[in-house]
């Protein structure tokens, strides 16, 4: 199962802070997952916005990484400090 975390304004767009799911059929990379989630949650491409960073197992990723199906994936809007 993958665990997906939506932070800041993204949790309002996605209507949830977190969700746990099996990798959807045919989804094998992070970019494919983002595409799938953008559609499933009607995010209007929010996860593809260049200001939104992606973490896999709490490490920033920039390339299109293959997924095993057991990762923690975080979507981070710009951070503004406390």
């Amino acid at each position: 199962m993958i665990k997906i975390l939506y932070f800041g304004r993204l949790h309002e767009s996605a209507g949830r802070r977190a969700e746990t799911m099996a990798l959807p059929e045919g989804v094998t990379t992070i970019s494919a997952l983002k595409h799938w989630l953008n559609t499933a949650h009607e995010l209007d491409g929010a996860l593809d916005d260049p200001s939104v960073k992606t973490m896999i197992n709490q490490a920033l990723v920039h390339a299109d990484i293959p997924l095993n199906g057991d990762e923690e994936i975080g979507f981070l809007p710009p951070v503004g400090g406390g």
């Binding site: 932070f7 709490q58 951070v79 400090g81």
Partner: protein, 148 residues
């Protein structure tokens, strides 16, 4: 010591413990950030962290501060969740033998916490609720350290 907590904390009690633990330090600088009223328009500040990631980032900044200055102690306490006007948000205290080390490291850590730390901030006030983006002024503060 780094604490990220979602319930109110008493900065005075925290500072007392830190001061006791650093009674031979010579110099202790502290900064306390509280929720500002902004002429009555803010009712609530809400901060969200990424558990693990937020703390690792702060730990990294503390490690950098320890590398750059000679410190005998550092404490960072940061609130998350919903806070009302006047509630403490953040306390940073640094202890050092020398005054400049204490001042500069505290200032540096606060710049990190106010600009780069992994927090998302939502403000509720007279004009509704909005997520706050970093201020250009905060980035300028943080840039100061690149030239030291």
């Amino acid at each position: 010591m780094i604490k990220i907590i979602d319930t109110p904390f008493n900065p005075v009690i925290e500072l007392e413990a830190f001061t006791k633990a650093n009674s031979d330090a010579g110099a202790i600088t502290s900064f306390l950030g509280q929720v500002r009223g902004e002429t009555g328009s803010v009712h609530e500040l809400y901060l969200e962290q990424y558990p693990g990631v937020t703390k690792a980032g702060i730990q990294d900044a503390v490690t950098k501060a320890n590398t750059r200055w000679t410190l005998t102690g550092v404490v960072v306490i940061h609130r998350t969740g919903a806070m009302g006007v006047g509630e403490p948000i953040v306390l940073v205290a640094t202890a050092a033998i020398h005054r400049r080390d204490a001042f500069l490291s505290c200032d540096y850590l606060m710049d990190y916490l106010k600009t780069e730390a992994v927090f998302w901030k939502r403000q509720t006030g007279a004009h509704g609720t909005k997520w706050i983006e970093p201020r250009a002024e905060d980035y300028k503060d943080s840039d100061r350290w690149d030239t030291l």
